[in-house]
Symmetry: C4
């Protein structure tokens, strides 16, 4: 190597980021930016030495030739100019540099789908947050089947249709929406981002994606609703856990209604909380609380299950007859959330109440049926309900093609819960990005089965 | 690091337990209590050095920076005060300290489900005990499918029912029980705990869980029955292997009856023992014996299979006609244990004899059908039997939801065998804990499918 | 070891290739040619030291005895003659010697099936080429099921037929062919070999395998067609993406027709490109372009997906009615490529247009149905079409037995896309080799189900 | 440790076998006999040091405390008496000691099932032998499904029958047999044992298991038949590949007949050899030959596939009409081997010729149907054939329960091929042991489904 190609420490030090990552190994300077993510031992150990001399760590693990035999020679920048070495530079790297932490999130533009968001969340949120969000009842069979069942359904595409213009816009429960999906209400979004549900709201605005707000949201509902300028008239749905003390629910409903919200999801699948063992095994931070419901995280001898311990106020005596009570206190639209059998769906339709087929993300009763299965049973046993009420669906939806399958089988729209929580890890921009991804996937799927608007979806396509 | 934060050896030595575990690595003091269970190399090597200097072991495996890059800086307690180091403290740790052994059981309160009990047993009981308990016939297909089949059945929950009060109590074979499950008779509980079946009995009392007692129990039945105060009137079921020498069985029945036991399980699925290869491969301790049946563990040229070698006295000529004989010698209730086809279940019902659908935990004939499958075949081919006799079920039941599925399909109650053996690893407290877990899981499942008492269970829910 | 068996460095240096690979380890000379491919640590590290002293690397990893205890003693050639050692020879091996590179292709004669070609391609082509060729829409479920579905179909062989002479020749779309398969048109073969589609063409000649040429081929069609001597009269099929600017398509069709090509595949399953995430994640080389369509590789904020970015000119408004337009500009045979439902197949048959059942290798819509499934649905719902038009099939075909199954179910011939791309990695010889493999596998399968010519295939055999 | 417990090298050296294996590690003497098979790094490295000082190897891998923390203290025999150490003893162990070789077979009495035999064979036979025996056509789907399909069939046991005496004896093709199974003819048993088919014959005698002899056996048939004393009247079946030169087949049949053999299996599923890629990839030893057929192992440009290269003489023109020819030259019983569809089975029954449902162990046509599937199709489509001819079955049978399932579905007897080859690895004793295992498993399975003789088997039990 000619003397002219010697690289100075001054130069090397500049390349100290994930995107631009040089290392010195035994006096050779290598550009490992591209290789690092594929490093069998993980990228972190490489990033740790970005812009530095990694010889010591390297030689403890690898033979001298591993680098040169695994990398293209174009990645060898040159030889270290040893005269430029300083004492400061030679020190071992500090244990954690702010820009290169083990738990750093990759840039948002590298996130391609909802699974990417989930993977990043698993690596970067706290153990407790991950346990609370990702856990489900006992053996998590329902949670996992929720997703798998979509992969087992085949389309029957109809091609050679003009699909130049594909339009995903629709109306959900009386509200115009940019796409046939909404944020399924999920608790405690602040655990993943300081702006929590407020960031979510702002991220939903550009495409008019309705946001379901949980009784156990991290913020009072007025703070969430006010995150969006009033003139946007953004659609919000309120999710209610009926309180053992009905007067508290009545007051809450009145308060919500006063904010202009006109859709109420009455959750019926949680008279008792499921046993989310991963959640129980991690101690909860007792400072966490839900301002609207007043629920607080705590720990007892069964463990630190936030789902269980925050659900103590929910009334297990809430029954069909109470719908009269609910109607009295809620003049807007009512949706029962958590219907899991075609019989209950039909009963609800007979009462003129909309349904959200849902198993609570598999969180409450393991081996409760995936919603897509209940939806199919409705098509077989009581197809008339689809013209009587709106049938919504959630659970396991991760792709635009999943959404399209639900619509073909009669759903008005679908909800996504965990994906929005994981996207909120990136704040408002993350939520916007997720919406764009899902909408784009849906458009592609629609074009490729040969439909251009939501109302063209029909069972023959699946 | 300021001098004021130096930590003395006196202080460090105090943090020498699994719950509170400090280590010194290269003169830094770290709190590894939380990290240790996640250590890729296992927690034991960390616990071994609790309260000590682990530098030597550490440096042999890890680069200096591994600790600081993987742990939150809050776990770094401070720097070692080198002046406080003593010769005694610097020695390598003894090879095994009583409180930190590799095979130590985790605290009972961290056990969340029956699988946890099983995992602990696998790690902590002797090789032979594990082989004897866990093994099954040849390729273990039936044993494994027993469990899997429950995961493939879906509920059809009915919600918006008042489930404030869920009551699991029921009557099994004439005995009031706190929950619709019982201890399936299994042999030789002493292998896992010195109090064996006696500890089990005591653990069953608080919730009135009937205990089935095997002919091959580790204790004579009178010692098991007397482990519970007489005034508790605790329900016991006696499991009989009919002896080739009928007079011995007659004497035994008379003896059992005299103790006040009025239910007899006549085991019919073991005219020949299955081939439990894992059991055969481990030499048996020839001192082990079952006092009631007189069976003794031994070894022969086929191996050390306790199941096979202790079953030599069982009469393979026991036939349906012999039920007359049994009735003559047993005025109480009779249950044939090990029915595996709907035809046999119907034959038993015609004779007015109760059945326990069971494949002996998959231990006798591989690819014999899971009991839940036989139960379904009964529902399809001879539903009338459910009003004629009690149909019990065992095999693969591990969750409250599994229990509920059996009840919905017509079973009066279900038995659990291995889970109770593994819980007995913790003695009476372990058994109580398991009962609480199962009962609590059952209550949750009942509430979430919308039933509040055992008699509301019906096939439409599955 | 006798002095007479000392081996000189001069001798050792000769054995420095993959096929003939000696190494010196601690003064013993070993022949590792046979062992190297099985080396748990990979063969490369061994090849790197071929003909050299590997002691240093070896001792860093293995105990002295590993070699002698794992290898037959016949592999120990003898002891190193230390007097022959030179300074030059003792140096560590260069980081990459031309004949032993990590990414070297194994000799063509060791390639036994299409999977071998794929495995080699994965190791030896550029990251971008692999990503572009192998990727498919979103979760790649359709791509993978395409293959799996063939493994789930069983033959019903009829034996004791005279199968001395098995003849695979047939007629495809009016052209005599040596076997009932063709190259499915796939884009950009130059990425894998400088001669790209031209090498493919030459490799197809010996067995008269028709070649489908993509609109996005790396060469202008005239250069591909002219790669084969005119007097061979080799069959080529032209695959058209209809351009938003129809006049461009018209000019292209005219040009193609003038070259003597008389079959046009009109692709209908790509009105919008699928989301091939693996392709998007790798930056495209912006120098790459398709001369016929004018499409160019590029990168945008969504990523570097060549499939998406090169498909921008495709007209999503192309509909059934446009078949009239196509017929006007193409007097030859027309095949609609990408039919995915029996309804569309029937519609095409009604118009007298041939079909290629295809899901574009799973690249456009995930969970679109495997073509073999659509073929079965055609047999069930509209069997009459098989006598009206030719039904071709592609997707997931890798074995001669796969081809036979399609023929039995009514297909005239089948296409293979990726396998031909991966074979082109070896140029013309690779393509010839693949054709021979497939034809030979097909002959064997035909003989073993008891048919000797293509027209004897019938549904009862599957 | 008291001086009295010091162990001398003289003593230690005695414990140098697999069964009794002591090692010295850092001056402590450990008994590792029991632990060695569970050693994560394999038992061989431990056996290599049996009776020796293993400190050097040990310390290179493990921390000092690993032994003491993983093993019961009872395994610590004592401390090394250092005064007894000799120079000879201190040397590193030789690379391979006869009694402790890597490829040593475990004692026969530790073999519990046919899978154990297979596992040992995989480790101990030559690469080529393993490739030839274990390989199957292309992707080996049929070979693997052959086994799996048995695991998916459930018994419907009928209990409380008198099963004191279970009798497995039966008549196969006119010959009394001790159990309803026979050796399926397989080629070249000498590859696995010098006595090859002769050892097999002797191992079959005690239980009167008929032996099928392949045309490609390693010995001339007269040498195999004569391995058993004439007065045993042992049943042999001759398997014929019809030669392209019929006169050769005629001569061979005459010769075989003269030896008193009266059953001929005419193989019909090998008009062309399958593509056994594992076999092709390993070079054949060209010295290997089959004396009866004259077939010789060789290598060509396709590879070293013994199956393919030795099958060149087989006549692919052999057809149903030729049965007349065969009958003329074979007055004894005729079985067509390799029937794979119920139609062919029926055709054979119409001709009064017995059938062996077989797919040649999956070796010839991948995705040809498992014989148990063809057997089921016969039960459904042509049940009458079971009273007209004997229906035999082979392929994937490894357990007594597999045998029983075939019998229940109408088979007279079943054949096992590979299991007998793998058992021959242990010579005559191995074959006897395998027969005992299978017979014992069958007896157990019969008792547990409630039958005591072969003629009681019926479809309702499966």
């Amino acid at each position: 190597m000619a003397d002219s190609s010697l690289i100075s420490v001054e130069e090397i030090k500049k390349h100290n980021t994930i995107e631009d990552c040089w290392l010195v190994v035994n006096d050779e300077v290598w550009d490992l930016s591209e290789f690092a993510p594929d490093h069998p031992g993980g990228g972190e150990i490489i990033y740790k030495h970005a812009g530095r001399d990694a010889s010591l760590s390297y030689n403890g693990i690898h033979a001298q030739s591993v680098l040169s035999s695994n990398l293209d020679s174009s990645k060898l920048i040159g030889a270290l100019d040893k005269r430029s070495v300083t004492d400061e530079w030679s020190k071992p790297p500090p244990s954690a540099t702010p820009e290169l932490k083990l738990h750093d999130k990759p840039p948002l533009e590298t996130i391609m789908n909802s699974q990417d968001f989930e993977d990043v969340a698993q690596r970067t949120v706290t153990k407790k947050t991950w346990a609370f969000y990702s856990s489900a009842d006992t053996d998590c069979l329902t949670r996992d089947r929720n997703r798998e069942f979509f992969g087992r359904m085949w389309f029957r595409p109809r091609l050679l249709r003009d699909v130049k213009r594909v339009d995903t816009s629709t109306t959900i429960l009386g509200h115009a929406a940019g796409a046939p999906f909404f944020v399924s209400p999920a608790a405690m979004a602040k655990l993943v981002h300081p702006d929590g549900e407020r960031a979510m709201a702002r991220g939903c605005v550009p495409n008019r994606i309705p946001q379901g707000i949980s009784s156990n949201a991290s913020f009072p509902i007025e703070e969430i609703v006010s995150a969006v300028p009033k003139d946007k008239n953004h659609p919000f749905f309120f999710q209610l856990y009926v309180n053992k003390d009905r007067s508290k629910s009545e007051a809450l409903l009145k308060h919500v209604r006063a904010l202009g919200v006109d859709v109420c999801f009455a959750t019926i699948d949680a008279p008792q909380a499921g046993k989310r063992e991963a959640d129980e095994r991690v101690k909860a931070d007792e400072g966490v609380a839900a301002p609207m419901s007043g629920a607080k995280a705590s720990n007892d001898k069964k463990g630190g299950g936030m789902g269980r311990l925050m659900g103590g106020y929910i009334d297990p005596s809430f029954v069909w007859a109470d719908m009269t009570w609910l109607r009295r206190h809620w003049p807007g639209k009512i949706v029962v959330k958590g219907v899991q059998s075609w019989q209950d769906a039909k009963m609800s339709a007979d009462l003129g109440i909309h349904v959200l087929l849902s198993n609570h993300g598999g969180r409450n009763l393991d081996t409760s049926p995936p919603a897509i299965m209940t939806l199919l049973e409705c098509q077989m046993n009581c197809p008339e309900i689809f013209s009587q009420i709106e049938v919504l669906v959630d659970g396991g939806i991760r792709r635009g093609s999943d959404i399209l399958k639900c619509l073909c089988l009669g759903a008005t729209a679908v909800g996504l819960g965990r994906p929005f929580l994981y996207a909120t890890n990136y704040g408002q921009e993350g939520v916007e990005h997720l919406v764009e991804i899902l909408k784009s996937e849906l458009e592609t799927a629609m074009a490729l089965v040969g439909v251009t608007s939501i109302d063209q979806c029909q069972p023959g396509l699946v």
